[in-house]
């Protein structure tokens, strides 16, 4: 049962990354840096902060990232176990 839920989560996360390049780039940046503030992600990627904020929310909803504190661009984000498993499978 737990595995089925996780498989569904994984599929949902894959779909998000396939469809949304901003989410994909955000996740890639977090993989390289381990953690970053929302504003730092927007500046490092040189992207519109509103787009990055939306991507962070999408990634959070799909269970790939979590905020250590704060929310939106003010939050500090890191990768979850699901993201690490997804990356291990994609490697």
């Amino acid at each position: 049962m737990g595995m089925a839920i996780e498989d569904a989560q994984m599929q949902e996360a894959r779909r998000l990354l396939d469809q949304d390049p901003v989410s994909r780039r955000t996740l890639e940046l977090l993989r390289r840096q381990q953690s970053a503030a929302g504003w730092a992600i927007a500046k490092t990627l040189g992207m519109n902060p509103d787009l990055v904020s939306k991507a962070l929310e999408n990634l959070r909803c799909s269970g790939l990232i979590e905020a250590e504190s704060g929310s939106g661009l003010e939050g500090f984000y890191f990768l979850t176990g699901l993201a690490y498993k997804l990356m291990a499978q994609s490697a």
Binding site: M3, Q34, S35, A36, A37, G38, W39, A40, A42, K43, L45, G46, M47, N48, P49, E66, E68, S69, L73, E74, F76, Y77, F78, L79, T80, G81, L82, Y84, K85, A88
Partner: protein, 231 residues
Amino acid sequence: MLEFLRSNGLFAAGIAAATLLYLLIDFFAVVKNFASILKAPSFWFFWFLISVLNFLAFKALNGPSSSLGEQFGNARELALIVFSTLGTVAILQSFALKIGDRKIVDVSTVIENFRATVLEDISRRAASSQREFTSRTANRLFDAFKGKPAEPALRNEFVRVMTFGDRNAGQVKEELAQISVEADTLQVPLAMLLAQRIAKADVGEAGRLAREAGRLLDQRTDMPAGTNSIG
């Protein structure tokens, strides 16, 4: 127990060290942050678990009737520690028992899930450290620029740092005006909120600005009044 430790203590220490070395290399390849790895309690629990399994593997390889590793002479135990460490890790990472089409035992998934949990714990600690560092840098920046005379210089830096991508200075000035309203509402110095935002967007630049604050303020006083303040 004491006798067990006396006879196996050196091997146990060697096995624990070999396991630790392997896990540090394995986790560092992913998270590249030794400090966060060593601070994560789940990492140490994982290490303890693998060390115990490794010790059992070592005892199996080093049984009284075992001749494994005799070609290594005096370094036989050391070679067995290497074999048992690699063997334990390889088995844990790939062991699954299938009967028909059903996996009856799947150790690899359990280990993979545990490893992902450890990585998440390490990343959470990295994020916590990053937040604390950013906060300290913002405080240093605020200390360097606090006070009404210095505030315009920090506003200029805010506009410079926050103008990136396809954003123009006009949009950033709007943000500045919003932060100014927020500072009035919260009754905190505007410079504090500006320093926090600059540090969150670019902590390296915030640190550099804090170090060079004196020079930046001198430049400002050299310029004609009203030419360098924004907002």
